[in-house]
Amino acid sequence: MNRRATLFNRAGLPVLLALMSLPLTATERSASLYQMHEKLLDQDGRAIDLDVYRGKKVLVTMFYGSCPATCPLIIDTLRAIEKKVDGPQRQDLRVLLVSLDSERDTPAALRQLADSRRIETTRWTLAHADANAVRRIAAALSIQYKKLPDGQFSHSTIISALDADGKIVVQSAELGHADPEVLKAISAK
């Protein structure tokens, strides 16, 4: 809020007052991602729902296959988290990566990516969704994204840790290493 305030102070206008008079009702109900029903396809073309890993701890995030820099880093970050988790818990942990690129990331393209990045698709799923589903899933995960004219995507990288019922326990924007908050959420009973 402070920074936003600065923006409008610089603007030198009473607009800030108008902004501040807006009561944001941010009381969130306990919400499971599994309240959302979206049709996805996994890297082998199988129809799945977001609750494909219901009953397990799941890390969910969004990416796109042709991303040059940050998206490989997302996969590395998820791996770093996995590495920090002890054996049995690691076996129980699942990863769901939903593509933002509904045009190019077909199941075949996702399968190719999984193979080239040596992703074990027994515990990880790379999923395709249509553009409307992508928009709703991103909204539910608080992921901002925008398709750029050259076909790339500009997007925030937020990893959500879900409990067995699909409730978002913690969200992390940290890349490159295992966020302790995420580790705590995964390790919790």
Binding site: P23, L24, R29, R135, Q144, P149
Partner: protein, 261 residues
């Protein structure tokens, strides 16, 4: 004619604006190249806005009540918590009734998910930011009044007095050049790409640490910094999560232009 002029003077509603179209549920807007406060990419200043159709008025409480009765999943007592916060429709007298006196007012306290579902049920969608901004750039007389200091001041005066008192009925404000009403001075409005505004707090600063959070080009920088009214909208939209509701956030629907005959 004389009577009409007196009426105009009294209400300041220029019904006979040269460009105004016939009033209907929605109006066609040609679109085209549009210089937005939010450029499509750092390299391109102008957004390409394909032809679209936009609701003339904001969705009213009565409209939304009809939707909720038909789709009980969106009643405030049945909605999934993922899709709406505690404030969702709490101003209504019951889960299916707005209550007397507010039927014609724009519906507020609706989440992005609920607004999207409403439009989808109508075979429409929420307007995209560039569509909304293009429509809202019009005064009653010209399609793009953004460089008119007088018009700008009028908009800012509206914002300074908005969010106070009782909302006017949906569709009560004067039609702009495109025939669209309520774009300024009534409520904020959800847009389809509210999750794509990509304006982090520091996006105007050099060496922005938040850039690391973004894949691709990083946060898009804002243009036209003098266009405060639009920047405020963007600040508002990017501060709202899709499940949030606010007593000053409403919506209208849009759709793609019908294929040419």
């Amino acid at each position: 004619m004389i009577r009409a002029c007196i009426l105009m003077a009294l209400t300041l509603l220029p019904f006979s604006a040269p460009g105004a179209r016939a009033v209907g549920l929605e109006v066609p807007i040609a679109g085209g190249k549009f210089e937005s406060v939010l450029p499509p990419s750092p390299k391109e200043k102008a957004a390409d806005v394909p032809p679209f159709r936009l609701d003339v008025a904001l969705v009213s409480n009565a409209d939304f009540a009809r939707f909720v009765r038909k789709h009980p999943d969106w009643r405030r007592d049945q909605v999934a918590g993922l899709f709406a916060d505690e404030g969702y429709l709490r101003q209504w007298s019951s889960p299916t009734e707005p209550g007397s006196g507010i039927e014609k007012q724009p519906v507020t306290q609706v989440s992005w998910f609920a607004a999207s579902a409403y439009c989808e049920a109508r075979g429409a969608r929420l307007p995209r930011w560039h569509e909304w901004e293009l429509a809202a750039a019009a005064s009653t007389r010209v399609p793009d009044a953004r460089n008119d200091p007088e018009w700008r001041q009028q908009i800012l005066d509206w914002y300074a007095t908005s969010a106070r008192g009782v909302l006017p009925a949906a569709g009560a404000s004067p039609a702009n050049y495109f025939g669209v009403r309520d774009l300024h001075g009534v409520v904020w409005e959800w847009v389809e790409d509210a999750g794509s505004m990509l304006v982090s707090d520091d996006s105007r600063e050099q060496g922005d640490p938040n850039r690391n959070r973004f894949c691709g080009s990083g946060a898009i920088d804002l243009e036209q910094k003098e266009n405060y009214a639009m920047l405020m909208r963007i600040a508002m939209l990017s501060s709202m999560k899709a499940s949030y509701s606010s007593n000053s956030m409403g919506f209208r629907c849009a759709s793609d232009a019908k294929a040419p005959r």
